[in-house]
């Protein structure tokens, strides 16, 4: 059976909008860090690349206790790069395809498991772009339409509203990543139309997001921890 072999998590940023003085992957929601939630979804993935920058030693010493075989990729220039730049630093050594995801969200496990399954089945040269029906505070909308059993994404937009937003998760050939300083979705636009899949996730960008996530998990038990 085909499986996804590589996952890159961007965890170099400073999380300035949240303003808690520590890297977002180390923020706890209901006593567990965002990073722990993410790594729990990736137990069957061979290579985990965690791109670190802001407070890198703190992130590494915490992360290696959860999963010792993580490959840490240093983005020493993290203050001047965006997520796309971090993704590229790992992508440049990866042969084949990888999932690239942001380290600042909690993803619902069943929807992610389906994403992994779909990704494993698609052609190595193709992309699978995750979208979400849960619209965040600062969305990048996606123009998505059904195509047979699957979904196709045709465009991204800040203005043109839709029922879907870009979920900051993409499966794609690592060779297509570039060392750019644009937003990741702006780079992905070059490869549209592409296949798309829905995941559910909570993004943690602001203090309100964090408070909402705490409340959300009081009522909803994504990880069977309540």
């Amino acid at each position: 059976m085909q499986t996804v072999r590589n996952v890159v998590i961007a965890a170099a940023g400073m999380g300035t909008r949240l303003g808690v003085g520590k890297p977002k992957p180390l923020i706890k929601i209901r006593n567990k860090t965002i990073l722990e939630y993410q790594l729990s979804l990736l137990e069957n993935v061979e290579n985990i690349f965690l791109v670190v920058g802001f407070m890198e030693e703190k992130v590494m010493s915490f992360a290696k206790k959860i999963r010792r075989d993580i490959i840490f990729v240093r983005n020493a220039n993290f203050q001047h790069t965006k997520t796309l730049g971090s993704f590229y630093m790992a992508a440049k050594i990866i042969d084949g395809a990888a999932i690239f995801m942001d380290g600042d969200m909690v993803i619902e496990p069943n929807s992610f498991a389906e994403f992994l399954e779909t990704a494993a089945k698609i052609d190595d040269e193709k992309l699978l772009i995750a979208v979400s029906e849960r619209i965040s505070g600062d969305p990048v909308y996606c123009d998505v339409e059904p195509s047979g059993q699957a979904l196709m994404i045709r465009g991204f937009s800040y203005e043109k509203k839709s029922a879907y937003e870009w979920a900051n998760v993409v499966y794609m050939p690592a060779g297509l990543m570039i060392n750019g300083n644009t937003h990741t979705f702006e780079h992905l636009e070059k490869f549209l139309p592409a296949s798309s899949a829905i995941i559910d996730r909570l993004e943690i960008d602001t203090p309100e997001d964090l408070r909402d996530a705490e409340n959300f998990f009081k009522a909803t038990d994504w990880f069977g921890t309540n």
């Binding site: 010493s61 290696k64 010792r68 993580i70 490959i71 990729v73 990866i94």
Partner: protein
């Protein structure tokens, strides 16, 4: 052809070997202190190695080699080196005649501090290795030198190498080494997978 330059103590070996040798003289705490100060950069490697050599030279060479022969290696890294002998080099400040049994098991080339035997067949320290110079030498015949290490004296090696990997399999890499590295790993298997990709 790409080349891999490995630090020896605490990278390929599961322990620092000099404190292990000092147990023979019941001086392992003192040696550990010197080694810790050196690893963290509080005293310069050259001075510290000279002092450590002066202590350890009191052990018969035959006994040193027996102890070195029993030093546990990181099996995944040792296997990687054996499989890629021609591409792998050990770069260590440790002494050539002391590390021979380990090098024999790995089967690769090495850059180390050098010694000459005196009339009684005891090694006399000749030259302490400059790890940065060793990497420069490797770069003459390779366009991609990848260095693997964890301590303060690996910093010059990392600065000269094309790509550097801080490896924390035995102890946490010192911050100075992390700050000039490109990748950091804590697991032997992950290190080997990474090296295959580079």
């Amino acid at each position: 052809m790409k080349k891999f330059a490995f630090d020896l103590d605490g990278t390929v070996t599961k322990v620092e070997t000099l404190p292990l040798l000092a147990e023979e003289l019941d001086l392992s705490d003192e040696m550990k202190l010197l080694t810790d100060l050196t690893l963290s950069g509080k005293i310069p490697f050259e001075k510290s190695f000279r002092m450590r050599y002066l202590i350890l030279r009191n052990i018969p060479l035959k006994r040193i080699r027996e102890i070195m022969d029993g030093v546990e290696l990181d099996e995944e890294i040792a296997a990687f080196i054996r499989e890629n002998k021609k591409q792998c080099v050990i770069v260590t400040g440790n002494l050539d005649c002391w590390i021979e049994p380990i090098i024999a098991k790995l089967g690769c080339k090495n850059f180390s501090s050098t010694s000459e035997l005196d009339s009684k067949n005891n090694p006399v320290l000749k030259k302490i290795l400059n790890k940065g110079a060793a990497i420069r030498e490797l770069k003459k015949t390779s366009d991609k030198v990848i260095a693997v290490g964890e301590s303060f004296n690996d910093v010059p090696m990392f600065e000269e190498a094309n790509i550097s990997v801080a490896y924390g399999g035995v102890h946490k890499p010192v911050s100075a080494a992390i700050s000039v590295s490109d990748y950091v790993v804590f697991d032997g298997g992950a290190l080997c997978r990474l090296l295959e990709m580079l």
